[in-house]
């Protein structure tokens, strides 16, 4: 069974393709634990999650996922170095107050960090902004300026630049448009970018 069919999220499908059998995985902002539960069933991983919203954390716990109910930005410091093989941050990077601190922590506690984020450089976003003269509203960024959880808007190019600045190594970069993976001109065409990086 494909993870996309079960979970309905393309980034989950890509992420799960990166996680090998039996890995130790920490999912930051794990929601109701769907990805971790899927990985446990299908990859036999040892998973942990962090989720700040009480209802979602409880749903994750109810499906047997070892979830920590708390704010991920203030709770990564507790984990020891190298506690995990993979630390996943899926579509939350743009919502964090201090995204770089979180990435640093992810690379401290995990061998690999898997980061998925919506690409603000997508052509639809660019044209929407250019033509409407307003904060872009697209299927990927559907919120009004005042109610968006997104506080940092980054593009594929921005992230690549940060990786170079930090000296972090890219192990995989995968780009999604709709349900299809793309290779050519990702900063124009990718809706979601998925990176696997390490120190």
């Amino acid at each position: 069974m494909k993870v996309r069919d079960v979970l309905g999220r393309g980034d989950y499908a890509l992420i799960s393709s990166l996680i090998p059998e039996g890995a130790r995985v920490l999912d930051l902002g794990c929601g109701d634990g769907a990805l971790l539960a899927w990985l446990r069933e299908n990859r036999r991983i040892e998973g942990r999650g962090i989720e700040v919203r009480p209802e979602l954390a409880q749903r994750a716990a109810s499906r047997g996922v070892p979830v920590y109910q708390g704010d991920l930005e203030s709770s990564l410091g507790e984990y020891p170095d190298g506690a995990f093989d993979y630390v996943i941050l899926s579509q939350t990077l743009q919502e964090l107050r201090r995204p770089l601190d979180v990435l640093e922590q992810m690379l401290r506690i995990g061998k690999h960090a898997v980061v998925a984020f919506p690409n603000f450089g997508h052509w639809r976003v660019r044209f929407n902004h250019l033509l409407s003269g307003r904060a872009p509203r697209t299927p990927l960024f559907p919120h009004a300026w005042h109610s968006s959880p997104n506080i940092h808007f980054l593009t594929v190019l921005d992230f690549e630049e940060t990786l170079v600045e930090k000296g972090w190594r890219v192990e995989s970069r995968l780009f999604l448009s709709g349900h299809s993976q793309i290779r050519f001109a990702p900063n124009w065409r990718a809706e979601i970018a998925v990176y696997m990086i390490r120190r």
Partner: protein, 371 residues
């Protein structure tokens, strides 16, 4: 489900204080069936004034104190699990305590009963579990003082605990918690009927014990739950009495609870058990809480409640963070409730879901590990 309290005797128990208790009795109840592999047993640990009657209905028609959590299809599903609950050491509900007869003198122990600890309670429970032929419990769980015992189990007998579920608990009492306990103890000991613990059966230090219980009840509720339950409503009157009779509903409730408590609880047990709670400190003998919990091999599910100010969430978080710092398998949920510390007894819908899912996984992994 009519339940029967059972009793078992043990020769001796060595205590933390250095003394040894002899000819002990433990009162316990069980629900559900122990399977052939003996790997479906869950030990439920009661809070301060609880007893072995955790579930079902006893012969007097009294419902178990956690009947909403234990039974067929409930959080601790007796169709799947074999559930055990015993009265704690120092209690007054069938297990040896200060109201028991001292075999050395033929008289009640009273204050001659040695001071006990949470670890002593757990040591006696271990004897019961051994007696039942169970080598590794699927889970230990309890709220409040029950949670402290669960933690002690996980650290003292790591080989015997697959999963640990402390609820609304702490790894050590804070100054505030000790203060409330000491106030209760002083109320009892200052009662002229206390007679240094040698009060007769029919004349316990009822006033002191009732006041202690009234204070306890305040700490078990929240400001919000008291506002909802009582507000400023008057009791059976339209206007103030301009005297010190009962004016308010909340006064009536507390007095009723206090008086009712005197009928079912022993004042000396109150002293001993609160002292055991105050002494409890999981870090004793270790450089840190994390170092202490490092001994544990159990998976943990830690639960706290938003409105619990007696055992606030920060105390649960202290446990959880110590476990996370050793990358231990731990689940933590802070459940939303207005019921204060009592939430683990009364506000059980979410608690049930979380425990059910956790136990389900633990049982699966426990079986796989054996296979």
């Amino acid at each position: 489900m009519i339940t029967e309290t059972q009793y078992v005797q043990f020769d001796a128990l060595d205590l933390d204080c250095g003394e040894t208790l002899r000819n002990l009795q433990v009162a316990y109840e069980t629900y559900g069936r122990l399977n052939e592999q003996k790997n479906n047993a869950i030990l439920i640990l009661h809070a301060f004034t609880g007893d072995a009657h955790a579930a079902g209905i006893d012969h007097n028609g009294k419902q178990g104190w956690w009947d909403n959590m234990i039974g067929p299809g409930k959080a601790f599903d007796t169709n799947r699990y074999f559930v055990i609950c015993s009265n704690v050491l120092g209690g007054c509900r069938g297990t040896t305590g200060p109201s028991s007869i001292d075999p050395a003198t033929g008289r009640r122990y009273g204050l001659r009963f040695p001071v006990i600890t949470i670890a002593d309670m757990v040591r006696l429970q271990k004897k019961l579990v051994d007696h039942l032929g169970i080598r590794r419990l699927l889970a230990v769980s309890g709220g409040s003082m029950g949670g402290m015992q669960a933690l002690e189990w996980a650290v003292s007998y790591p080989e015997a605990v697959e999963a640990c579920i402390p609820i609304a608990a702490t790894a050590r009492h804070s100054a505030q918690q000790i203060a409330f306990n000491e106030t209760g103890r002083q109320a009892i000991m200052m009662d002229p009927d206390f007679l240094n613990g040698d009060y007769p059966d029919d004349r316990p230090p009822a006033r002191g014990l009732a006041v202690a219980r009234m204070i306890g009840h305040i700490t078990y509720m929240s400001d919000e739950s008291m506002r909802e339950k009582f507000g400023r409503r008057l009791r059976n009157r339209e206007a103030f009495s301009f005297g010190f009779d009962i004016d308010f509903e909340v006064e009536s409730y507390l007095r009723y609870r206090g008086q009712q408590f005197v009928g079912r609880f022993d004042a000396n047990s109150y002293l001993y058990i609160t002292k055991a709670m105050d002494y409890f400190d999981l870090t004793l003998g270790y450089p840190s809480l994390a170092a202490s919990l490092e001994r544990a091999t159990a998976r943990f599910l830690v639960i706290s409640f938003t409105s619990d100010w007696l055992y606030p969430s920060y105390q649960s978080l202290e446990i959880v963070n110590a476990l996370r710092s050793r990358n231990h398998d731990v689940t933590y949920c802070e459940l939303t409730s207005n019921y204060g510390h009592d939430a683990f007894l009364v506000d059980i819908a979410e608690q049930t879901e979380v425990i059910r899912g956790f136990l389900d996984r633990c049982q699966r992994e426990f079986r796989e590990a054996r296979a």
